[in-house]
Structure formats: structure tokens, C-alpha cells
Symmetry: C2
Subunit: 393 residues, 2 copies
């Protein structure tokens, strides 16, 4: 082989590596992904200069997708509606592995050690747990309904410290806590009858308080996970009583519920209100009137602002609440289909997906100035890599 | 040039790149540094497999050093005792830039946007602010004592949201808040007479409450930074009254003070106690008797455990307090010179520097089992890269 041939061969070897990938050498601390829900693709982005770096295709049905990051922030795991679990190298912009692990799934979580990925499934129900390195199956936990062989849909799956996961069963009305400290011997604890039809859940950022929203009755179920013996307490049981209800086109998402040291801010179902709950006693303190039925209420990392988006047909709006005065301080008309918001890690900016305009809008949280608009195909969820180091996300 | 020559040339080009550097291509989300105080060097480490990756030399006098990370987690900035400010590429294991910006400095902070680095100086006093990319000087803020030309030492420097820094003046008895939103026009706000000789400070993880320890009088000064008009409130003014005082060989460090949603855990000065303060009313709730004079009291990321180390001559001990029962649940004899502790981002492990043994000990926080021992030259501060995304660290 001549030198020129050798160089040409080297070039083609490199070129074939480059052609379908990002091939970035940068660090990933300021990177993230945006779900493009209609095209089954995702955008790899960075929020220092607010730009799109590349696109990854072939992720399946992303109509209700979420993501978690590996503890080294090198990989993102995508949970797709079609049961697909995909591991993506975010610097290479490449799919490392993809398994279709169920017929229909709703979300997932990564364990404290980063070694396990849990997926919450609708069809068949239950939770499956995989090794994060090769996506091999470690455990299949069915969440059977009333000890029958019928599997319940599982929802509100979160990680908590101690290599544990918590979730609820929609048909079973149970809460489950699974300890995966010994992956070959999962310890499953079931707390029955927490309330009718839990439909989503969240855990406080310290991993202590789990709150399940209930579809089948008023109110929410609260579980203090620091108690030795678990029990569920009903909170806000009567918040809807005597109120005019608006039609609910989209249930609020709970994982985004905002909590600071004093208050939790909860989107009311079928009401044009944000409920402010005192964390001391879990009682309602105030209702903040807002523009329409809320979907996400997300707290800025310092807890000072709460950003709220809304359900159809009012999903062009964003409202910002000051956590100190408990007042709406800003209303923004971003465009139809505001689906998700993600703050930069220390909160100086917020990225907003505006599906119908095929745009991502980036705002300065201090001045509310729109800093930049990026193009994206039907963008929905936005996830930044600092989530790798948070409990319960 | 023959093929063999060409390959040999390529090899040497690569080799020369490798020889004085880490030259890592890995992502940095699970990386960090350990200060080697006696040798002016630092170790680049990673906490997924708990290993040392390489060593960087030439950092100056690291006898009291601290560090902050760039928002992309590619760089670490080291604040040395000799006034040196050094920017290190953590994957290359190389010094990118080093400036000696004062005669004696005590610590620093990085702004919310990541664009500015502030350094707290003893000699000459005041705070200097630099661009994070090239370490060029942006602002020099003197902290003059009583409007004289004498510069006060500054301490307790932290970042807060809104591109702001907060610090106190030891001789001036003032608190300063500096807004760097427009770097060419710093807005300096001075709150005078917060208490006698503030010697260190911390800010809560949401950037709201600043607490200054006072050397010249009993108690601490608390400032709610969410208030429009700043004011200082004295808290715990009499905690030492009537107590037997032990000699103080080392003042407690405040930046490590532990705070969860309910309580702050404060090392008492000259007492073998940890003070538990209710965050609701900032009053003392309990004193937890501990082995000796505490130095750092650090909370696990989920707030469940508080790890405490101790001043000379009792610095071989570690104690762990359960934040729920407020009891000591574990006492560990690690070896003389336990100087610092750092939790992994989600708290499953803690790294401890044991200076006199030239070792880093790594513990499982659930079982308290010592998982690994790494060799290091007089290790002191340990800093993991997830600090990049935290407020006030």
C-alpha cells in the first residue's frame, strides 16, 4: 500500500465514523436533549451558547417521552411511548443500544448509583429494571392487582436514595417501594390502598416526600419515605368542592410540581388556579388565579419563580409567579403548543418548547427578554444533563 | 517519507501530547479534584469507579485552597492561599492560565452565568472579579473600612442568582452584595454593622439566606436576600453562655454547614456540640453532643445524614448524625488529619481526606463500609464537578 492510499483509507475510516454522528469532544455539563415528538428524533443541544449541536433519529414513538442521564453525563436514556428504551451517546450523537421492553411505557428513572434503569409500563403493566451499561434485564416486577395475575399500569416512577425506586399502581391503588441494593434480590414493599387510581407522582428533591395525584377521588396521597413503617395520608381532599370546574383536556403533570423550602405549588385539576400548599402542615395556604388549566408548574432552581404552562385550548401562554409575593408577575404569549420548560442548572435562563411553531424559545429569567429562538420539529420535552445529579428526576 | 517513518512520526506527535497531560476523552460529570496541600498539586479523580486519573502540579501554596467548576464542567478554577488563581482543564490535566492576583486570598465563587470568577482577598483586602475564559480583570472592589482607604479582608464570598456575589468584611463589619449583570458597571450595595468581625459565611442552597459567623461577638448574622431592603438579624446570640468552652485550635468552616428543609446543623465554636436550628424561626432546637470541637458539618445530598469532622487534637474522628432522630448513629476513626468530606452527587458515597496518612477514604453511606483507599500527598479539599450546577458553592 502506498502512502497516499494509506492516507485515503484513514480518511474514509474516519469519514464513516463521522458521517452519522455528532462526534463532539466537548464536555457535557452544559448539554441536553430536546425530544422531537412527531419525528421520533432528538436534538442534542448546549445551553452556554444556546445552540443545537446535532440530531439523532430512530427513537420510536416519542409522543410521550422522557429521559434520564448517566452519572458521568455521557449518555441519555430515552423512554418512548412504544416501550422502547434507548441509550444514546450524547457526544457521538449515536444510539448505543435500543430495546423494546414493553408494548406501552410511560417513563423511567435511574438509580442512585447510576447502575440501574427502571421503566414504568402500561402494557403489560409493572416495572422492569435494566442494567444501565448494556440494557440487560435485571428484574421484572408485575404490580399485580389484588394478588390476581392482572398487571396494573404503573405510574409516578421515581428514584430515591438507597438504590430504591418508588411508584404507584393505577388499577391496584397501591404504592410500591423497591430496594435494588442487591440487584439479584429485589426487596419489594407494597403499601395498599393509598387512594383511588393514582395517575402520576413526584418526590421532593430530598427524596423524602412522595405525593401521588389521584384520578378516582379528590385530593392527593402523601407518603413520608423517612418513616420506618410506610403510611399514606390524604391531603387537599376537598380542594375542588364548590368550585366551577373547567373541562380537562390534559391532566397536570406531577413530576414538574414545584416545591421550595416553604411551599409546594400544585396545578389544580379543572381549575384556573395554582394551589399553594404549606410544607409544614400540607394544608392549602392560597389559590393563585391563573389564565387557564395548568399543566406544568416548575420552580426555578433557586425556588424564586414558578413558571406555569397550560392545557389546550390555552396552550400558547406562559405565566410566572413570584414565590415570595405569590403573585403572577409576568404573562407571555409564546405561541400555540407550549409543552415543556427546562431551566438552566442555576436558573438564569429557561428553555421552552413551542410545538406548533416548531420552535424552542429561550428566555432570560431576570428580564423576561426572549434571548433566542431555535428551530426544532414539534419539540416537546427538554432535559438538561445536570438532571444526572438530582434525586427523583 | 516512507510509511514506517510516517507512522513513527505520528506516534511521536501523539506521545508528546500525552506525556505531560491526562489527555482524557471521557465526559466529566463524575469527575472531581483533590487538593494536595503540601505539594501544591491536585489530583484529577472520578467517582464512578473511585480512581485517580492524573496529577497536576504547579498550583502554588494550597495550604488553604478551594475550587469552583465552569458551567460546562470542562475546567476547574483553584483559589490558592498565595493569591494565585489557576484555570485547569480537567480532561487534559493541564494548567490553561494562572494569575497571581493578590498577596493572600481565601476563596472564590463563580457567577450564575459562569462568565465571572470572584476572589476574596486578605492582602490587599477586597474582592477582585475576573472573566472566566481568560482570567482578565473585570472589577476590583476594595471593601474599605469606614470609608477610609484601608481595605478590609473579605470573607464568606458566595454567588447568588442574578449574577450577584455576597461577602462580608472582617474589619469593616459590613456585608456586601455586588450585582455584576453589567460587568463594566458593578452595582455594589453595602449593609453596614452586621456584627463584629464576620469571619466566614454561607448561603442556603436556594441562595436566599446568608449567614455570617461572628468572631468578635456571640451569635451569627442572618440576612434574607429576598428582601427588597437588606437587613441583618442576630441569631443564636447566647448559645455559648454558661457552657464550658474548649480551646479552639481551628474555627469551624461555614461553607459546609448543613441545611435541610427543617433544620440547619451548625458546628458550635469551642463546644463539643452540634447546634440544631429550626429554619422556621432560626432558634436553637437541640444540641447534639459530639466527640470534640467540630470543623465541618456536611449534609448528605438528600439531607438525611450529617457528617462531622473535628479540630486538632481530635481530628482522627468522623461522626454521622441522623437528621430525623437527631442522634449520632456512627463514629469512625479514620486516622489523623481528617480535613474534608465530599459526597457523590446523589449521596451514595462520601470521600474523606485523611492528611496524615496520605490517604483518601471512600465510604458507603448506607452501610458505612469503607469501600476503597486511594493514595494522595497530604490531601485536603475534595471537590466534585457537580458543584458547577449548585448555587452558593
Amino acid at each position: 500500500m502506498k502512502l497516499t492510499q494509506f492516507i485515503i483509507t484513514l480518511f474514509f475510516i474516519n469519514f464513516s465514523n463521522f458521517s452519522f454522528s455528532c462526534n463532539l469532544s466537548r464536555s457535557t455539563g452544559d448539554m441536553g436533549i430536546v425530544i422531537e415528538r412527531a419525528s421520533g428524533s432528538l436534538l442534542i443541544v448546549e445551553h452556554t451558547n444556546d445552540q443545537i449541536l446535532c440530531q439523532v433519529k430512530g427513537l420510536g414513538d416519542l409522543s410521550h417521552a422522557s429521559a434520564v442521564f448517566s452519572r458521568d453525563q455521557a449518555y441519555v436514556y430515552i423512554f418512548a411511548r412504544d416501550g422502547g428504551l434507548t441509550k444514546v451517546d450524547i457526544r457521538q450523537g449515536k444510539i448505543v443500544k435500543r430495546v423494546v421492553q414493553a408494548g406501552n411505557s410511560i417513563g423511567g428513572a435511574i438509580s442512585q448509583s447510576g447502575q440501574l434503569i427502571a421503566v414504568s409500563n402500561y402494557q403489560p403493566g409493572g416495572v422492569k429494571i435494566f442494567k444501565s451499561d448494556d440494557l440487560s434485564l435485571v428484574a421484572d416486577i408485575p404490580a399485580n392487582i389484588n394478588h390476581s395475575s392482572n398487571r396494573s399500569k404503573t405510574v409516578g416512577l421515581v428514584d430515591i436514595p438507597g438504590e430504591q425506586f418508588v411508584y404507584t399502581a393505577f388499577e391496584g391503588n397501591d404504592l410500591y417501594k423497591v430496594d435494588m441494593s442487591h440487584p439479584d434480590k429485589p426487596v419489594v414493599e407494597r403499601l395498599p390502598d393509598i387512594g383511588k387510581q393514582p395517575y402520576d407522582g413526584l418526590v421532593s428533591s430530598d427524596g423524602r416526600y412522595y405525593i401521588a395525584g389521584l384520578f378516582g377521588e379528590d385530593g392527593l396521597a402523601l407518603v413520608d419515605l423517612w418513616e420506618e413503617s410506610l403510611s399514606a395520608k390524604k391531603i387537599l381532599s376537598h380542594y375542588g368542592k364548590g368550585e366551577k370546574k373547567f373541562p380537562v383536556y390534559k391532566m397536570p403533570h406531577l413530576e414538574g410540581w414545584a416545591m421550595n423550602n416553604e411551599h409546594a405549588f400544585l396545578p389544580a385539576i379543572g381549575q384556573h388556579n395554582l394551589l399553594v400548599v404549606s410544607i409544614n402542615n400540607w394544608k392549602e395556604k392560597k389559590r393563585i388565579p391563573i389564565k387557564a388549566n395548568p399543566v406544568f408548574a416548575m420552580a426555578q432552581p433557586d425556588g424564586r419563580q414558578i413558571w406555569v404552562n397550560f392545557a389546550y385550548p390555552d396552550n400558547q401562554w406562559l405565566q410566572v409567579i413570584d414565590a415570595k409575593t405569590l403573585q403572577v408577575i409576568k404573562t407571555i404569549e409564546a405561541g400555540k403548543g407550549v409543552l415543556h420548560m427546562e431551566f438552566t442548572p442555576r436558573g438564569e435562563k429557561v428553555w421552552v418548547s413551542v410545538r406548533n411553531k416548531n420552535e424552542i424559545h429561550i428566555y432570560d429569567t431576570k428580564t423576561f427578554k426572549r434571548l433566542k429562538v431555535l428551530k426544532a420539529e414539534s419539540p416537546s420535552g427538554i432535559f438538561f444533563s445536570n438532571r444526572a445529579h438530582k434525586i427523583g428526576l
